[in-house]
Amino acid sequence: MAAEGQQHPIGIYLWVWAALFVVSGASYYVDWAGFQGAMRWTLILIFMFIKAGAIVWVFMHMKWERLALFWAILLPTSFICVFIFVMALEGDYTEIVRLNFFSDWQNFFSVERHH
């Protein structure tokens, strides 16, 4: 079966391309403005997923593919999210164990936990 390729107007590609620059600038601004803590991480993740989504959906043509292909890629990727969650729990636990057994935390008012 011959490939048809893109018959879509070039406009959407240019819009997404411009949007990628804007969102990248916004991500850089998060660091430059000095956001910290939960606000920083939330913004970083939001901008990251916006860019990733735009690249996959438009540049990689997923918007126009059949759902079978879309889900064949997306479903296994969602398992990665489960993996991330589980390893976050693990990493947190390991840190607590290390602080408990290897540090002199009983003699400090609070021990700083670094992320």
Binding site: M1, A2, A3, E4, G5, Q6, Q7, H8, I10, Y13, L14, W17, L20, F21, S24, S27, Y28, V30, D31, W32, R40, W41, I44, L45, F47, M48, K51, A52, I55, V56, F59, M60, H61, W64, E65, R66, L67, A68, L69, W71, A72, I73, P76, T77, I80, F83, I84, M87, A88, E90, G91, D92, T94, E95, R98, L99, F102, S103, H114, H115
Partner: protein, 237 residues
């Protein structure tokens, strides 16, 4: 021949079509040529590879009791005596996003059989990619030689920083380099008209066709995609 894979004749569109597409007597992934489908599956496996690296980065960073080095300081550049945090990284991101755009244009002109413009855009994409790798190499040399970052220790904080950094950016830079090589090869094929004449390839009897440019485009966008994640999770976090 449909532009939108959802309206391939003879198959059910939308959600109901998923079960139908996977049925035993059907060709799965209708609407996509086999080369495109296979590239997607390869990219899925590559997604798992990079996810493993990034997940282990997360685990290591969360579980170490030492302070993690501040990327804004480690990767800052001095411009005219002023510390500019993450300047090189911002430029690298700009370069890679630009290359994604030129790649998308190249695919479009390829399908329009505009050999001259497609060739130029592929070469431009390759040059931007090579620029990115050059900047990454500069970054590596600065960190190794000037800052003393090693896979086992560094003067800034947690000793695992170096090994994570070199592993993740090394794998990514290798992917970019391989992409640049393929971009150059494909650009030359386009220029020589091999896709117009449908010449067979070097190692295969199969006919060349412009769909190859789109398949290569998928790989290149993936490389940009991985950088989006690395930039956000490693340099910004």
């Amino acid at each position: 021949m449909a532009e939108n894979a959802d309206v391939v004749p003879g198959v059910t569109p939308g959600l109901k079509g998923i079960a139908g597409d996977w049925s035993s007597d059907q060709v799965a992934f209708r609407g996509a040529p086999w080369g495109k489908a296979m590239m997607w599956i390869f990219l899925l496996s590559d997604t798992f590879i990079f996810s493993i690296f990034l997940i282990s980065y997360m685990t290591v960073r969360m579980s170490t009791t030492m302070e993690w080095p501040n990327p804004s300081q480690v990767f800052a550049l001095q411009v005219g005596g002023v510390d500019v945090p993450l300047l090189l990284i911002a430029i690298m991101t700009f370069v890679l996003i630009s290359s994604s755009g030129t790649m998308a244009m190249a695919v479009k002109f390829g399908y329009e059989k505009n050999r001259k413009v497609c060739f130029r855009l592929l070469v431009l994409t390759a040059m931007l990619g090579a620029t990115f790798v050059g900047m990454q190499a500069f970054e590596w040399s600065k960190l190794i030689l000037d800052e003393g970052i090693r896979p086992w220790a560094n003067p800034f904080g947690a000793p695992q920083f170096g090994s994570v950094f070199f592993m993740v950016t090394g794998f990514h830079g290798t992917h970019v380099s391989i992409g640049v090589i393929f971009l150059v090869i494909t650009a030359v094929k386009v220029k020589r008209g091999r896709f117009d004449r449908e010449d067979p390839g070097f190692m295969t009897g199969r006919k060349g066709r412009y769909e190859i440019v789109e398949t290569l485009g998928l790989y290149w966008h993936f490389v940009d995609l991985v950088w989006v994640f690395i930039f956000a999770l490693f340099y910004l976090w």
